[in-house]
Amino acid sequence: MDEDLSQDDLLEAELRRAAAVLDPVPAHLVRAAVEAFALRGLEAELAELTFDSLEEAAAVRSGYGTRLLTFAVAGRTVDVELSGGEWPGGEGVRLLGGVHPAEPAEVVVEGPLGSLAVRADELGRFSAEGVPLGPFSLRVRFSDAVVATEWITV
């Protein structure tokens, strides 16, 4: 049995090496992860994802459909509805959002390719078009606080 175990270790090591050669982590992705250190958000409160319609067991989709999200922190919630996005998604998706309790705020839609600034009106509503697929976070500047939503993949 010991013989088999070391054979297993050897084969796993060979496979490990083959993967490093044939399916390594792309260098630009490692760089992006290293640079993400700047995202530790020292001044912003983190709003966690508390609801995601994509987690509903009965969800059956073709293409993108509509996805509902809720992020929450310290008595505030940010609701997001993402829709549209023809696959393979050259146009990006449409975003409709609302902050509760309602108040005006500056909202920055953030992704690795750049950011997009919009405003929430006095009813807390905001919207954006062409949100790119991929990592997504909202940075919301209220009168008394800055909130960042947990990164998700759109």
Binding site: Q7, D8, L11, E12, A38
Partner: protein, 190 residues
């Protein structure tokens, strides 16, 4: 790198050490990548899920309760995001087609001449090993893909990435490697 060393790097990063973060990212990138690839995501989607996983860790740097288990946190997060990506978009590759294309690109006549014989033999063996690996059943392929990206002899990451108990990983690994050896023997690679 063992879990202690990983935990030390992570704690230093959480305290604001950018160089520690860089080392930490480099040490655990293969794990996150292996989890997303094991779920069948093609390169573009895999890249997005990989990035989201790391960005979310950066946001949560001060909040991770058990720094020694951050590799499990990464595996779990990558798994959850990969599953959502599959549900949202249903783009899967049946095998690792990207890797096949990459190898084919490298095998130009000029490259074959320039490569030393030893290097060529090793590259050929890697390629055939990888091809045999693709012929494994989906469960074995998924398990082994994650194990070879994880810290050696550590099963907790694979358990988290697959939603299985830690105790089931060892026997599955043994069975799957035996399967792989059989496939290699069939191809005369022993």
């Amino acid at each position: 790198m063992d879990h202690e060393a990983i935990g030390r790097l992570f704690r230093a990063a959480a305290a604001g050490d950018a160089a520690a973060w860089k080392s930490f990212v480099e040490a655990l990138s293969p794990l996150v990548w292996s989890v997303v690839r094991a779920h069948g995501l093609p390169e573009a989607d895999a890249g997005e899920v990989y990035q989201t996983t790391w960005f979310r860790l950066a946001q949560n740097l001060g909040r991770i309760r058990e720094p020694e288990k951050v590799s499990t946190w990464l595996a779990t997060t990558a798994r959850n995001e990969a599953l959502k990506a599959i549900r949202a978009r249903r783009r899967l590759v049946p095998g690792d087609e990207d890797a096949f294309e990459r190898v084919a690109d490298e095998r130009t006549p000029e490259a074959a001449v320039i490569e030393a014989e030893e290097e060529a033999a090793a590259a050929e063996r890697d390629r055939r090993l990888w091809q045999a690996f693709q012929e494994l059943g989906a469960k074995c392929r998924r398990l082994l893909r994650i194990l070879i990206g994880s810290p050696p002899h550590s099963y907790q990451e694979a358990a988290a990435a697959l939603g299985l108990s830690v105790g089931s990983i060892g026997p599955m690994r043994q069975r799957c490697l035996r399967q792989l050896r059989l496939l290699l023997a069939e191809r005369g690679m022993g």
